[in-house]
């Protein structure tokens, strides 16, 4: 019986590092990581059968529904090796699985000595998994390749074993085969983790150094910080200090997750657990920072600490202007748990009061928006996402622009835009359409490699701005959903960029302005003007809609004046019905935003700022 009763297992703060194995699981969305984790909790008996539920470790509804992990978790699993019969402590550090959270992933991996590379053997490896694999290899982690879902009829373990072997330089037969669903091969996997992954090494007598790899806000306890102790030890008697800020905190509690939090006397070298200090905001306990003790502080921080930098900006506006205070409250609350989210008030002539928000990437943006809508019950309009531009003025002064409305109208010497290196993995049959899409989006081909006979890795540099607007949706639709995408920022390049303004009756509508490449300005102008012509109802007068670069008009449409707005019928004395109809029309009028003299329905803003893919998604959601 390889499971060990928790009470009899080696205890926190007194576990010999040689008995510890710290590992992460690298996997793509829906490759079965959560199910495998569930199985590990079951087999090691840290969760009793009757308390088990699916995706035990995913805490948020959003995580369960989307099958993604936004925040990491660390679970302490006692295990008696089936190979040598000895007792071990396995710390499973669950890592977020998305490109937007690459930095968090890298810190989670830095807390481990090894990683399980988990690949669905019906689908093969995906771009983001590959990126995380490279990250693990850079951190010198021992990689255990594992093919999951071997119970599936469509499983092709031989094919994907070859693919994995080629990627990490092992033999195909070194790949373990498991089924998270049936539990097959999971005990063997735990044994191999013990056997292959080296134990942590650290100096127990040195000043304490612990790596923060995650930080979570809890309504009752404040911020819970997840740490991996590198040197020394942390105990409840300590006062701790954040290396980056020098701020001192009382240690209220220290403990391990198993998989519910259990307080302990402390954490020793190589151990993974949590600390609670009474801090109320995750920004005071940042991922990647080093915790040391106040009375015996270390002089050397752990490497790799970075401040998260927002890459994508968008305006968020409440549909109902009266909800503005609620939106502020909801953002404040979300920020307690999301150090990467930044925002400041923004006023739009068209959309009213809202916030300009910065995100790590598109998924991060979507998640924030969804959480605001779901958890705070808000209805929001978000403006088209924008990246960070560096504008050099004629006088040599520089301007950082994250909002098209701040883009100067004249005297621009040069504009620099962020560039990313993008990796696309897809079946070889889609090479043509992928290259076409990347070319359209101003991409430069860096290289292409066959991962196996029929799967390729295509690498491009692309302006980030080209990716933030529906690139992923396009990629998916052009490859029947098979392609996967990963990207990382690699710097900036000068671009021939212009701001396109949209004018209604010669009056600019700030929410519709966009910074685009000069070659695409015309297409953007035509798209927006014709879309608005459909969306804006006819007015008392003719309304010209124009797209302009500066004072030059590049596209125009017009909405003819309305001639008839009357219902002549009288419903046989049913005046109440007619009055109610009028009251409804009056409500409709109230929901109109005035742009100059033009009444624009809220729906027109939403529809104009929405891509077709968004509409499809919304429909799918409504159906689902």
């Amino acid at each position: 019986m390889p499971a060990i009763k928790l009470a009899n297992a080696p205890q926190p703060a007194s576990t010999n590092p040689a008995q510890i194995r710290n590992f992460g699981i690298i996997a793509h969305i829906d490759h079965g990581k959560s199910t495998l984790a569930d199985r590990m909790l079951g087999i090691t008996e840290v969760v009793e059968q009757r308390n088990m539920r699916a995706q035990y470790l995913d805490r948020m509804d959003i995580e369960r529904e989307r099958g993604i992990t936004i925040k990491s978790q660390a679970v302490r699993l006692p295990w008696r090796s089936g190979i040598d019969g000895q007792e071990y402590i396995l710390n499973m550090i669950d890592t977020p699985g998305h490109v937007d959270f690459t930095y968090e992933v890298s810190r989670s991996l830095a807390a481990c000595e090894g990683a399980v590379l988990l690949v669905d053997c019906a689908q093969g490896i995906e771009a983001q998994t590959l990126a995380n694999l490279y990250l693990a290899m850079e951190n010198n982690l021992t990689i255990i390749p594992v093919l999951n879902k071997i119970d599936l009829p469509a499983a092709q373990p031989e094919k994907f074993a070859e693919e994995l072997a080629k990627l990490i330089g092992c033999q195909p037969e070194d790949c373990l085969r498991v089924s998270g669903k049936t539990g097959e091969g999971v005990s063997e996997l735990l044994d191999q983790i013990v056997k292959q992954i080296p134990p942590p090494v650290g100096d127990a007598n040195a000043p304490a150094r612990a790596l923060i790899f995650d930080s979570v806000y809890d309504t009752y306890r404040g911020v819970v910080t997840y740490v991996r102790v590198i040197d020394g030890h942390l105990t409840t008697r300590d006062q701790i200090q954040m290396f980056s800020t020098g701020v001192r905190h009382e240690m209220l509690e220290v403990g391990v997750i198993s998989p519910e939090p259990v307080a302990s006397k402390g954490l020793g070298v190589g151990e993974v657990g949590y600390v609670i200090t009474g801090v109320k905001d995750v920004r005071q306990s940042r991922v990647g920072d080093t915790i040391t003790t106040y009375h015996n502080p270390t002089k050397v921080a752990l490497a790799g600490y970075k401040d998260p930098k927002p890459m994508v900006f968008s305006g968020l506006f409440p549909l109902d202007g009266a909800d503005y205070p609620l939106l502020r409250e909801a953002l404040d609350k979300l920020q307690l748990n999301d150090a990467a989210l930044v925002y400041e008030p923004e006023t739009s002539a068209a959309l009213g009061f809202g916030f300009r928000c910065g995100f790590l990437g598109l998924l991060h943006m979507e998640i924030v928006r969804e959480r605001l809508e779901r958890e705070a019950g808000l209805s929001l309009i978000s403006t088209a996402p924008s990246v960070v531009y560096r504008v050099v003025r004629g006088d040599g002064k520089e301007l950082i622009v994250t909002n098209p409305s701040e883009f100067p109208g004249d005297k621009i010497e040069a504009v620099f835009e962020p560039i990313v290196r993008a990796t696309v993995l897809a079946p070889a049959e889609f090479i043509g359409s992928i290259m076409e899409l990347c070319q359209e989006r101003r991409g430069n081909l860096l290289g292409m490699e066959y991962l196996s006979e029929d799967r390729v890795e295509i690498r491009y540099t692309l302006p980030l701005a080209e990716i933030v607007f529906d690139f992923f949706d396009q990629l998916k639709s052009k490859t029947k959903g098979y392609a996967s995408l990963d990207y990382e920022p690699i710097g900036e390049e000068e671009g021939d960029l212009v701001k396109v303004d949209i004018l209604l009756q010669s009056e600019g509508v700030d929410a519709f302005s966009a910074i685009v490449h000069r070659d695409k300005a015309y297409a953007y102008g035509v798209m927006m003007t014709s879309k608005l012509r459909e969306l804006i109802p006819r007015q008392q007068f003719e309304v010209p809609i124009q797209a302009a670069i500066g004072s030059r008009i590049i596209a125009r449409e017009s909405i003819r004046a309305i001639r008839k707005d009357v219902l002549a019928k009288c419903y046989g004395g049913d005046i109440s019905r007619k009055r109610k109809l009028l009251e409804k029309q009056k409500e409709g009028k109230k929901r109109m935003k005035m742009v100059g003299r033009v009444e624009v329905p809220q729906e027109a803003f939403i529809a104009a700022l929405t891509t077709d893919a968004d509409i499809d998604k919304a429909k799918a959601k409504a159906k689902g």
Binding site: Q540, R563, K564, D565, A568, C570, G572, K586
Partner: protein
């Protein structure tokens, strides 16, 4: 209280339901499988009389009745003598004004000369025929059963038996109706011996057969601009023929205005008898249960047939006043409006939708193009 009380009398029966109609009407088969009109309407007149007694006991008006209107449904499906019984009862309970106007809606298919004569004998002095269109393919889209020739016959008979007030109802903007179809309809109507025309733009009401056809894409709704053109054409031709507009959808030769309809627009008091009929008494609106069977049960069981009522707030009263009176030729007085409402309207005066002359004379009255924008102007006034 001495405000005069008008009566609306609902006859909720039709031999066949038209595809565009969402009025409260039923075919005999819908009410009772296999039955005919005589069976389902049997005793209906007694129910109306019973309800009128309730009205008598609740209203302390001593003014005689100024107008009565038989609507439907198809009122001409009833025996003229039966209709006469209701009128006799009302006359003895309330009294009739000397110049009382008593209108009946008529289907050109369900009248004969003899029947029209009998209606005159029963005391009815105004008849409104559902002509709708002179184009057979348009009538087919509307699901109407009559042929255009029947309208000519029926109006002539009405004239011959002594009706002095004769009106036709027209519908424009029906799918498949061309401008020349509509012009032909106007011309045909103007050849009839009539002194009043109501012309309504077709509204596709949800729940009708027509709405379902539109939703399935079988029928295409004509665009608003064409419908606007048809209104302008109608007004031009009617005016030339001496029929002048006095309400958005109504034109009459001098003295031929329908006073019952004007009572609606002016917020007068009226009592609606019959299932689904609406009443308005001094700022209170109420309406009866809709289904004829439910109505029958209520009246027979001595239970009030009123399904719902509302007492209008001052704001609602004002909304209704503006919404209804703006439809009339002389509109509403400027002095009854707020400064903000008046300022909202200046662009419509400048744009020619509100009459400049009447504006200077202190009234908000719609011009020809303004009539087509009446709802929008109402929204500007009510903010």
């Amino acid at each position: 209280m001495t405000r005069p009380l008008s009566f609306y009398i609902h006859i909720p029966y039709c031999l066949k339901r038209c595809g565009y109609c969402d009025f409260n009407t039923y075919t005999p088969g819908e009410l009772k499988a296999g039955s005919d009109i005589a069976q389902v309407s049997n005793g209906y007149i007694d129910l109306l009389i019973a309800e009128s007694k309730v009205a008598r006991s609740e209203i302390d008006s001593n003014s005689p009745i100024p107008t009565i209107f038989f609507g439907g449904g198809t009122p001409t499906l009833m025996e003229p003598a039966d209709l006469g019984r209701v009128l006799n009862s009302l006359e003895s309970d309330f009294g009739f004004a000397e110049d009382i106007e008593i209108t009946i809606e008529a289907n050109p298919d369900t009248v004969s000369k003899a029947k029209l004569a009998a209606l005159v004998a029963a005391g009815i002095n105004r008849v409104s025929f559902g002509m709708q269109s002179a184009a057979p393919h348009v009538l087919a889209v509307l699901d109407r059963t009559h042929s255009p020739e029947n309208v000519t016959k029926a109006t002539n008979w009405a004239h011959e038996v002594g009706f002095e007030q004769i009106s036709v109802d027209l519908i424009y903007g029906t799918p498949s109706e061309s401008i020349s179809d509509w012009e032909q309809t106007i011309d045909s109507a103007l050849e009839l011996p009539i002194n009043h025309i109501s012309a309504y733009a077709l509204i596709v009401e949800s729940g009708t057969k027509l709405a379902a056809q539109v939703k399935r894409g079988e029928i295409l709704i004509p665009d608003d601009d064409q419908t606007a053109d048809k209104y302008l054409l109608a007004d031009e031709k009617f005016s030339k023929a001496g029929l002048n507009w006095y309400e958005l959808s109504n034109w009459a030769k001098g003295g031929g205005e329908c006073r019952h309809n004007i009572a609606y627009w002016k917020g007068e008091n009226w009592w609606g008898l019959g299932p689904g009929a609406h009443s308005h008494i001094d700022g209170k609106r109420f309406w009866n249960v809709k289904h004829p069977n439910a109505y029958r049960e209520r009246i027979a069981g001595n239970i009030s047939p009123i399904m719902e009522s509302e007492i209008l707030t001052d704001i609602q009263k004002e909304s209704e006043r503006v919404m209804l009176e703006i439809r009339l030729k002389y509109g509403i007085s400027k002095s009854s409006l707020s400064a903000e409402s008046i300022s909202n309207l200046t662009s419509y005066v400048a744009g020619g939708q509100i009459s400049q002359d009447l504006w200077s004379a202190g009234r908000v009255a719609l011009t020809l193009s303004g009539r087509l924008m009446a709802d929008r102007i109402v929204r500007e006034i009510l903010l």
